[in-house]
């Protein structure tokens, strides 16, 4: 019962945040609403006993990505103007893509046979996660690292003064 109420509340936070992101007039508020949505998702992770994921969700999405978005908004000219239009003439492309993505996700959600039986959460999740990163999934993990490294170096080279 308590779990269901908490699930309902966190889902509400996530969904209301997501709706505010696209409906708010001021872009700065949209970005902060996105943070609200992230926090709601982190709450859902905690309900699923995935505390590690929840902490990472806060650390990376709220602490890093949201700040990055806020900075991008604040440093872009005229974006903060409250009189600026929220839509430009390409809105229908975005609507098309969003609608298509929605269909794909719905098809996936409806088709996958979700296991309903609740299995016990393993005791040492972090240890398991850590050893699969450097064991079974070593190659994908390293490839992702190299990709990030390349992006980092690329960003530095673009931003460097000549």
């Amino acid at each position: 019962m308590g779990m269901q109420i908490a699930f309902f509340l966190f889902s509400l936070i996530a969904i209301v945040g997501a709706i505010l992101v696209v409906t708010t007039k001021r872009l700065f508020h949209s970005a902060l609403a996105l943070v609200l949505s992230f926090v709601g998702v982190a709450g859902l992770y905690i309900l699923l006993e995935a505390e590690f994921l929840a902490a990472l969700q806060i650390l990376i999405y709220v602490g890093a990505i949201a700040i990055l978005i806020l900075f991008a908004i604040m440093l872009t000219r005229h974006l903060m103007d409250p009189k600026a239009r929220a839509f430009n003439e390409q809105w229908w492309v975005a609507a098309l893509v969003a609608g298509f993505l929605f269909l794909v996700l719905m098809a996936m959600i409806l088709r996958v046979p979700w296991p309903i039986k609740a299995a016990a959460v393993p005791e040492n999740v972090i240890e398991g996660l850590g050893s699969s990163f450097v064991g079974e999934y070593l190659v994908p993990f390293e490839v992702a690292s190299v990709l990030l490294m390349a992006a980092l170096i690329g960003a530095i080279i673009i931003a460097r003064e000549r």
Partner: protein
């Protein structure tokens, strides 16, 4: 005779048992959680009041003056006078402010400051929640602060506030990286992210002796994370007239103040927990040891403020990215190698020493070798 070590947990148990006599079990659990939370919040508010007085007294002493000495004997009632003054001050919202953000920022900055204390072990049996991801939890909460500061900076509708907000976020971002790397080497050495287990791993030697480089990096980053001098650019009075909280007054301003001092105390507590053996110590009960060590660390924070002049923003960022981050990575490499060595405790300890001296010495040598002469003049 009740021994002091078990006194508080014992008291809690008695109260819980008494409540269970006439209340359902789940309600007793909820009540106990709320009571512990309130106790921690109350303790922090009292600690902050004490810290403000201590800071002004110690700064006064270091600068050869008296410090507060008018209200009460030796100025002891000064914090209460300050709080009363802040409570009755007019709450001003600037015309140009973004009302919602201006209102929410002080709330959002103070919540994570209190939340950190849920995982910090005050004593052998005094920890509100011994999470197995406690270290990550603390880092994550620290990163939420930058959102609140940006909200305050933007929401105030003031260019100085906005400048302070930008500075604060750049600083918090830059120093979060070496801080996390320094903590990571401790986590690797202890083999756990639970703060209680990290404390227990520090015997016979605390990590300050095994990981001196990580200790120094963490402490420097801690000073920067709390926006304290010499890293107090975001709220530099003489440059941007207090930065992001320029447009706040009364209770809202007090919230920023409260958060800053709680964070200072929390960073001291984290230094003690991660590096100085936490609540470990002979004879005295564990929580007394914890508070003695934290008080010493807080004193060092105040001492820093009286000693070092403020840095420039480019010096600040260069110091983090070009010195602390590479050093922290080298330290991480050393720790990773030593953890994998099969040497026994003292063999590993010597390997840590050798690695730390090598990494630290090399870093200092490179710093001296490649610093342009005009930067020193």
């Amino acid at each position: 005779m009740m021994d002091l070590e078990n006194f508080l947990p014992f008291l809690g148990e008695i109260v819980a048992r008494w409540l269970k006599g006439f209340l359902p079990v789940w309600l007793v659990d909820v009540i106990m959680m709320v009571v512990v939370g309130l106790l921690i919040i109350l303790l922090m508010v009292v600690v902050v009041m004490a810290l403000t007085l201590l800071e002004r007294k110690i700064l006064g002493r270091l600068q050869d003056r008296l410090g507060p000495n008018r209200v009460g004997p030796y100025g002891l009632i000064q914090p209460i006078a300050d709080v009363l003054k802040l409570l009755v001050k007019e709450d001003i919202i600037p015309e140009k402010a973004d009302k919602l953000l201006h209102f929410l920022a002080p709330v959002i900055i103070v919540v994570p400051a209190f939340m950190v204390w849920a995982v910090i072990p005050f004593g052998k049996k005094l920890v509100a929640a011994d999470l197995n991801i406690a270290v990550l939890y603390v880092i994550a909460l620290g990163s939420v602060t930058s959102i609140a500061i940006l909200m305050a900076g933007w929401g105030s509708g003031n260019k100085y506030a906005l400048l302070g907000g930008f500075r604060a976020v750049a600083q918090l971002f830059s120093y979060e990286v070496p801080m996390a790397l320094a903590i990571l080497s401790v986590v690797m050495a202890a083999g756990s992210m639970s703060l209680q287990k990290i404390v227990e791993a520090q015997s016979p030697l605390p990590f300050v002796l095994l990981q001196p480089v990580a200790f120094l990096i963490y402490f420097i980053c801690g000073v920067a994370e709390t926006n304290r001098s010499p890293f107090d650019l975001p709220e530099a009075e003489s440059e941007i007239i207090a930065g992001y909280h320029i447009e706040y007054s009364g209770v809202k301003w007090a919230m920023f103040f409260l958060a800053e001092y709680i964070n200072t105390f929390a960073i001291s507590a984290m230094v003690v927990t991660l590096f100085l053996g936490g609540w470990k110590g002979p004879v005295l009960p564990s929580y007394i040891w914890f508070f003695i060590k934290v008080a010493i660390m807080v004193y060092v924070f105040f001492w820093f403020r009286a000693t070092f002049p403020r840095l420039r923003i480019d010096q600040l960022l260069n110091f983090s990215w070009k010195f602390l981050v590479p050093l922290a990575m080298a330290n991480l490499l050393v720790t990773g190698l030593v953890v994998k060595l099969d040497l026994g405790y003292w063999g590993k300890a010597s390997a840590y020493w050798a690695g730390n001296i090598l990494a630290g010495g090399l870093a200092l040598y490179l710093l001296g070798r490649f610093t342009p002469k005009k930067a020193l003049a």
